[in-house]
Structure formats: C-alpha cells, structure tokens
Assembly symmetry: C2
Homo-oligomer: 102 residues x 2
C-alpha cells in the first residue's frame, strides 16, 4: 500500500471553503485503478493545520493518477480564491510512504 | 474518527528491529473498544523516517487505551535496546487529528 500526505496551513475562512469544496468534490478519483481512500485530517492542536491523506494499492497507481486528465479536471474545479489561499499557505511539500506493516 | 501519528527517526538497524517487534506485537490493541487500525508508514525520501498511524472511532477511545494496562503491557514487550533507539531518535511529539471529511 502507498500513502500520499499533503500538509497544508489554511486560515480559518479558507478551512470552511476547503471543507465545502471537498464535500462537493467530483469524485473522479473514486473509481481510479488502485485508489483506496482519501481523508482530510485536522490537527487537534492547530485547527489551521490540515492534512490530506490518500491511500493507494501501489505507488504506480498514484503517479498515473497525478498525470491523468481526471486529476487535472478535479483541480480545475477548485475555486481560484481557495486554490490561491492553499498555495500561499502550504506548510510543506508532499510526503509519501510505503506502508511497511499493518 | 480520530487519528494518532507518531513520527520517529530510526536508524537502519533499528528499523529492522522495529518491524520485527511490530510483526510480533501482542495484538492487545486489536480488540480495544474504538480501535480501527494501525499502520507503519516508511517515507519514500528518507527510509529512516517512520510514522506509526493509528485510527480510532473517537478521541476518548484513544485516550482510554493510552491509560490502560493493555497499553503498558504492549510497551513492556518492546526490547530495551529498541525502545532506547526510538526514544533517542524521536523526530517530533505525537500528532493527533480529527478526520474532518472523507
């Protein structure tokens, strides 16, 4: 299993907008080969720290999706103001992992 | 849903020992009320960066487990040398999250 984590710093008004966008997401990824699930985690200690965590059968499925038209279409649906807020406030680059045991 | 993440920095020989200990874990947590799953994630970019991720129905289940005799017993089984290696190389304290959307 493969995991991708995006750590974002998102100011309070943008958190609400991000949750709205997430709830109204196109769901294009849900049927992509190798996709398992996607969760939004919000830190206990810092409610402006948001992690988006997606799990995949294997790394190649994730990288294929990142290059796909579906991924581009999904991101095109994000309102520009929200997209700008997230880009500006990015905490770190993407983390990615192999699940070594479970 | 509630998530607890421990980020550890573990040198190569200790990674193997950690995996061994994990595979031989007592499994006491598996039947604890509210426990969902536990995974060990290993960073793509830095194979000495290990995240232990446990998911729970809600925060109170996690905190109850952390105070329990089962948790103490599980940790007592970790070999002292491994325990020392992990403590010394801890990357950060625990992160914890509410799952805000999925």
């Amino acid at each position: 299993m493969y995991v991708s984590v995006s750590r974002l710093r998102v100011q309070q008004p943008s958190v609400a907008a991000l949750m709205r966008a997430f709830r109204q997401r196109s769901g294009l990824v849900d049927t992509v080969d190798g996709f398992i699930d996607l969760q939004v985690w919000r830190s206990d200690r810092d409610p402006e720290e948001i992690w988006m965590v997606s799990r995949w059968r294997e790394r190649s499925c994730f990288t294929a999706y990142m290059k796909s038209a579906d991924h581009a279409r999904s991101h095109d649906r994000i309102p520009q103001s929200l997209s700008d807020a997230i880009c500006l406030e990015r905490l770190e680059h993407l983390h990615s992992f192999e699940v070594a045991a479970e």
